[in-house]
């Protein structure tokens, strides 16, 4: 009886110790990073390191900073750089924001497959998305009202595109704010007059085609030559330690970089 009790106690402890040792990494932020890339990196990391569980919620880059600030995330994924008033928030609350550039992403412009327009000038892109050009016939397409699909305001892609393509002008009031990359692809694929922007990793959706910008083809080979390429980041609260540090180092390792390339981004070391 005595031995039975002690053995069962030992077994219970052994059974629960993995649960005690397993760490939980919460990742919050960008839909561009968090829909495909980070889940795949997380899977590969779990296979290698074990004892860690991931909780990924991708609702837009702005949520990365709000979550890091309140302490509900260990890593923030952002497809844009931190804004001055956000970093001011971190300073006033005494938290130290660390930035890690993880991959370069290319924002491509997509139109419906049946749209004859296949090349746009940078000025035309700005005019279309800010609502100055309202009809496809103004850029050489068939007459029809342009339907613009953008991300919503919590998205880093939304903000980056404003800076890269629109010289910080506001989007036109006729733009429709979709929740994620896949939804934009679905709507542009279904609407012959649709236009939208996406990360390159999502650009091969059914029914859409990529538009070249003044002849420049978006590709992962020469990413910095294409006008709408931008770096994406991981942020942490303070210097990362323990499992967080291991995960970030994993993202920079050759295995991590191979995954980054496979998904359709360009790893930091190879961006030129």
């Amino acid at each position: 009886m005595k031995h039975f009790l002690s053995i069962s106690l030992l077994l219970v402890l052994c059974a629960s110790s993995p649960a005690i040792a397993q760490t939980k990494l919460r990742l919050r932020g960008s839909d561009t990073l968090g829909a495909k890339l980070l889940p795949q990196l997380a899977e590969a990391f779990k296979k290698q390191a074990g004892m860690v569980s991931f909780d990924i919620a991708a609702e837009g880059s702005s949520t990365a900073f709000t979550n890091l600030l309140t302490g509900t995330a260990e890593i923030g994924m952002s497809s844009r750089k931190v804004k001055p008033d956000e970093s001011a928030d971190f300073r006033t609350k005494g938290k130290d924001l660390r930035e890690f550039e993880i991959a370069w992403d290319v924002i491509v412009i997509i139109v419906n497959k049946n749209n004859p327009v296949s090349d746009l000038k940078k000025k035309q892109v700005m005019q279309i998305f800010s609502g100055d050009i309202r009809d496809w016939s103004e850029v050489g397409g068939n007459p029809g009202q342009i339907s613009i699909y953008t991300r919503n305001t919590s998205s880093g892609t939304y903000k980056d595109f404003m800076g890269l393509a629109m010289k910080s002008r506001e989007y036109g009031s006729n733009s429709q704010k979709m929740a994620g990359n896949e939804q934009i692809a679905a709507e542009v694929g279904a609407n012959p007059n649709g236009i939208g922007y996406l990360g390159l990793a999502y650009a091969h959706a059914k029914g859409t085609k990529i538009v070249t910008i003044e002849g420049a083809i978006p590709s992962t080979a020469e990413v910095k030559k294409y006008p709408y390429a931008r770096p994406t980041f991981l942020y942490t609260n303070g210097e990362p330690a323990g499992t967080t540090k291991q995960f970030i180092d994993f993202c920079y390792s050759p295995v991590g970089e191979a995954i980054v390339t496979k998904v359709g981004f360009v790893p930091k070391s190879r961006a030129k």
């Binding site: 702005s62 050009i133 009809d135 103004e138 009202q145 339907s147 919503n152 910080s168 429709q176």
Partner: protein, 620 residues
């Protein structure tokens, strides 16, 4: 012998059988039970009051915060820049008309060449799409390290060749290319591979032909094209000066944010030397006014250079439209410029201005690099329109179903219909949202393209996520509520009415439609209102399906406006609450929207109760 005191003690049996008034802590059992039930119901009231207080507390802070934002907007000079910048945006509308006119004219010459070139590109793209897998394998094999063996490369090339030939078999030939040309193109496309960097010769030839024809068109329409280009360049005289001023205003605003961070109620802004930075702007007012005048004269001159006639009647109409709108635009610009000297940077922003800016503002712009505006009107219109359409769709169905099941249906039919309608309530709203995106949107769009339905205003529809789509799903959700309440109202009509009508010799139909339904009408009205209250608060469906366009719908399309996308009060809260930091102006603006939603729901429910009370009053 028992003493008398012992006789007065009751036995156990009689104790249990006799009801006694036992009290615990001074509260008797009956009162205790009553108190228990009363406290449970008052918990509900207390929670409701707490919710209202919480909403009010978070939302009322919005007024001072937004007032501070608008004051900064004025003091840093951004409002000053917008006085000219806003009317200038109309110039783009005029340019848009000119561009459309120009391209309509050019198209008359270049149409065929363009379609041929596009057809060739389309065929090339189709083949590339079909062989994407094999060509990406070949591309990877060519760059892999260590280099691939020649046999492997050759076999991959063979695969690609085979796939290309299969794709070419399936290729649809366009009618704009001659038979010989299509054959030539097909044979050229068979050689498509990642190793060949040059485009097929026919494609290049067709592109060159298009460029040649395009040049011809430009020469033929030279006056029109030149006039359009020079009109587009007219605002440049203003833009250089305006961009400088905007940069200066932005820098001032950035200094304010840096010094005061994101505090809700910073102290008076005396550290930032507003007076000096504003003088940098106001000192240039005469220069700006001069530039506006220059712009107006230049615009008139270039517009006069536009030809009367363009290639097509459509283009000519666009040109005359533009000529009609130009004087209006120039008058607006001149008026704005005349108001410049009177602008003061330290004019105080009153709370009344803030309330007007929120409740009557027409732009909801957040996360902007210029200035955030929280205008409530587009969201309110979206919510109200969707709710009204949903109620209009749901009311006939639910009321007629209620009349049928209550008055005409047999027992078996009643037992069959009622549970099914009430089962609709069990479907989760997010599932309905999915159905809306995938099935209903495509269905409505497909129906709108039927040629015999084109008389309906708004057909064929442009967007598949629109207000009508959301309203249909919301109507489906409201039907069970309306149906049950309408049926209850019909049930509550006193039997004496039915008997009296029968006694007078009325038929069943006459009884139902002339006696029972009018008697139940306020109950039915209450049912409709409660259905509306249910619909106005629905979030998930409208967020997924209504199209999320934050703009007042274009009512000039008449009844077709219901096929346009819109955003709603509930949708904006759900969409933006994840990204706002607690206590910021945006956060508080969302809570204000929440307060208004709450009040609307309360109002609708109060009206419904008033109807029911009136019904009961009439009855007695």
């Amino acid at each position: 012998m028992k003493d008398p005191a012992a006789n007065s003690r009751p036995s156990l049996g009689s104790l249990l059988l006799k009801s006694q008034r036992r009290s615990f802590l001074g509260i008797e059992k009956q009162r205790a039970i009553r108190l228990f039930f009363a406290s449970n119901s008052s918990v509900a009231i207390i929670v409701l009051v707490l919710i209202m207080l919480f909403l009010l507390r978070e939302g009322m802070d919005f007024l001072p915060t937004y007032r501070h934002e608008l004051e900064t907007y004025r003091r840093a000079g951004l409002e000053f820049c917008d006085i000219i910048d806003r009317p200038l945006a109309d110039h783009q509308q005029l340019c848009s008309k000119l561009r459309r006119a120009a391209s309509a004219s050019l198209n008359t010459v270049t149409n065929t060449a363009r379609r041929r070139r596009d057809a060739a590109y389309e065929m090339m793209r189709e083949v590339e799409e079909e062989t994407r897998l094999q060509s990406s394998i070949l591309a990877d094999a060519l760059v892999q390290i260590p280099p691939a063996l020649p046999e492997h490369l050759n076999s991959v090339r063979q695969e690609l060749r085979k796939a290309t030939l299969i794709a070419l078999e399936r290729l649809q030939v366009s009618a704009v290319l001659t038979v010989a040309e299509s054959q030539q193109l097909k044979s050229e496309l068979a050689l498509l591979s990642p190793e060949v960097l040059a485009l097929p010769p026919l494609v290049t030839a067709l592109s060159a032909e298009y460029i040649r024809v395009d040049d011809e068109a430009h020469t033929a329409f030279k006056p029109l094209v030149d006039a359009v280009e020079s009109f587009e360049a007219v605002p440049d005289v203003l833009h250089t000066l305006l961009d400088e001023m905007k940069k200066h205003a932005r820098e001032t605003k950035a200094r304010v944010t840096e010094i005061y961070g994101t505090e809700k109620q910073p102290p008076r802004q005396e550290s930032v030397d507003f007076i000096r930075s504003i003088e940098a702007l106001t000192s240039r007012v005469p220069e700006l006014m001069g530039k506006v005048e220059e712009y107006a004269l230049l615009a008139k001159k270039t517009a006069a250079a536009l030809p009367r006639e363009a290639g097509t009647p459509q283009a000519t109409e666009l040109l005359s439209e533009m000529r009609g709108l130009l004087p209006v635009h120039l008058a607006e610009m001149r008026q704005a410029a005349a108001g410049l000297p009177a602008w003061r940077h330290d004019k105080p922003v009153s709370y009344f201005d803030v309330i007007v800016a929120f409740f009557f503002g027409e732009a909801w712009i957040t996360n902007s690099s210029w200035q955030d505006f929280f205008g409530f009107v587009p969201l309110l219109i979206g919510s109200v329109l969707i709710a009204v359409i949903a109620v209009l769709i749901a009311t006939p169905f639910s009321v007629i179903a209620a009349i049928y099941t209550n008055q005409f249906a047999s027992e078996r039919e009643q037992e069959f219909i009622k549970p099914i309608i009430e089962f609709i309530q069990a479907v989760p709203s997010v599932v309905l949202g999915f159905i809306g995106i995938s099935l209903l949107g495509d269905a409505i769009k497909g129906v709108s393209e039927w040629s015999w339905l084109q008389w309906i205003p708004g057909f064929p529809i442009q967007e598949r996520l629109n207000m009508f789509n959301a309203a249909c799903l919301l109507a489906l959700m409201a039907v069970p509520t309306m149906y049950s309440l309408a049926e209850d109202a019909l049930n509550n009509v006193p039997r004496s009415y039915l008997d009296a009508s029968d006694a007078l010799g009325a038929t069943k139909l006459q009884t139902v439609f002339r006696v029972i339904v009018p008697a139940a009408k306020s109950g039915i009205a209450a049912a409709v209102l409660l259905g509306m209250g249910r619909v106005i608060g629905e979030t998930m469906v409208v967020l997924l399906v209504a199209g999320n366009r934050i703009a007042i719908p274009d009512f000039s399309a008449g009844p077709g406006v219901i096929f346009q996308p819109a955003h709603t009060l509930t949708g904006i809260i759900a969409q933006e609450l994840g990204e706002v930091s607690r206590g910021s102006a945006h956060w508080q603006a969302l809570f204000m929207v929440g307060i208004v939603l709450f009040l609307i729901s309360l109002l609708v429910n109060w009206c419904a109760r008033a109807f029911v009370r009136q019904f009961e009053f009439n009855k007695s």
